[in-house]
């Protein structure tokens, strides 16, 4: 029971999603959103999930280490427009 490494290229696209149990990883260009929860149980399944989690986070760390990082992200670009239904 070995989980295959999922397709998840941190910060490279807005598409990739990996769910480990109820824990979801969402790939964004400016962040990885991790939400939900997960029991890493002391059994074979728990080990496989822990390895997967570890591998994913390892890739996130490696990707961040390889980048020129700003002190903090710029504010998101959100416009205000007239409501077409208003």
């Amino acid at each position: 029971m070995t989980a295959k490494k999922p397709a998840f290229t941190p910060f490279e696209n807005e598409a990739d999603v990996v769910e480990i149990g109820r824990l979801a990883f969402e790939n964004r260009l400016d962040r990885i959103t991790i939400s939900g929860d997960l029991d890493l149980t002391a059994d074979r399944r728990g080990l496989e999930q822990a390895r997967l989690l570890h591998a994913l986070l390892g890739e996130v760390v490696a990707s961040l280490e390889a980048k020129e990082l700003p002190e903090q992200l710029p504010a998101p670009a959100v416009k205000t427009v007239a409501n077409p239904f208003g």
């Binding site: 598409a15 427009v81 007239a82």
Partner: protein
């Protein structure tokens, strides 16, 4: 005026093959047409087999009905979001995921014209979550899970809202569906106020709603919540929600039937001690 338009549109469809109707009629009439003619596989997602009807004519342009296996969407090319996503949730279809892990991917909806649909780039660096309307956690199989990641089923949603209160509402709905046997659920955005926020070309809804109807109790109600971090959901009757959003969401029901309130569970968000979502985290 709008009613007349629809009547003419229905007559027109009687005369023309449906496939050519879009091409030949075009413009507003085409928009009205696509708004009232769901594709054939859709009725199963709706109470009495009847899809919601747009009442506010400003919502009608550039709408398009899209059918997925377990949910139906009315997409707006003005907002580049769904106006609603409708599901018929059945107790036997809600199973906890057994997989070690699953992969999914957000994607633009290929059936929509490029000039009307959201692209992944619209949401990039927006600060908003891609909020599912029909939740991934409701999907009974892999194919439907993938469907739920179509941007035709997504709106820009405040992240705190999405991951906490909204996830709790979704979890409560799944629990209710298990208790009731089945539930019809319609989820969508509301665009209220003089101004709206926009990310890329996608309009950000001011509010979100989730309407629940129990065929067993012949009663329904809706959660209505501002699309913001600390918002608390209000529980309102079906007809009040319909007035707010300008859509007849349950046209199969008589007006007096829409007043019969279904009791909805209290929502304490996922930061509030009680875990609302037993599966799927946020959607």
């Amino acid at each position: 005026m709008f009613q007349k338009l629809i009547v003419r549109a229905v007559l027109a469809v009687g005369l023309l093959a449906t496939a050519s109707a879009h091409a030949q009629l075009g413009g507003k009439l085409g928009a009205a047409l696509s708004g009232i003619l769901p594709e054939p596989s859709c009725p199963t997602h709706y109470v009495g087999g009847r899809a919601p009807q747009i009442v506010n004519p400003k919502l009608a342009p550039a709408t398009r009905a899209l059918c997925f296996n377990v949910f139906g969407v009315m997409h707006s090319g003005l907002t580049r979001t769904p106006l609603w996503s409708a599901e018929h949730l059945r107790a036997d279809n809600i199973e906890a995921a057994q997989d070690l892990s699953r992969e999914n991917s957000f994607h633009a909806e290929p059936r929509l014209p490029a000039a009307q649909r959201a692209e992944l780039a619209d949401y990039a660096r927006s600060g908003f979550d891609r909020g599912h309307m029909a939740p991934n956690g409701d999907m009974p199989d892999r194919s439907s899970q993938r469907d739920s990641f179509s941007l035709a089923n997504i709106v820009p949603q405040d992240g705190e809202n999405n991951r906490n209160t909204w996830a709790a509402i979704e979890g409560e709905v799944r629990k209710m569906a298990k208790r009731e046997g089945d539930l019809y659920v319609i989820t969508g955005p509301a665009f209220l106020g003089a101004n709206l926020r926009q990310v890329g070309k996608v309009l950000v809804p001011s509010h979100l709603y989730k309407l629940v109807y129990s065929p067993r109790q012949k009663a329904g109600a809706a959660w209505f919540i501002e699309n913001s971090a600390d918002a608390k959901p209000n529980v309102i009757p079906i007809n009040e929600l319909e007035r707010i959003v300008g859509i007849n969401l349950l046209p199969a029901l008589a007006e007096r039937d829409k007043e019969r309130m279904l009791r909805l569970p209290a929502i304490r968000d996922n930061n509030g001690g009680k875990r609302g979502s037993k599966r799927g985290g946020r959607d």
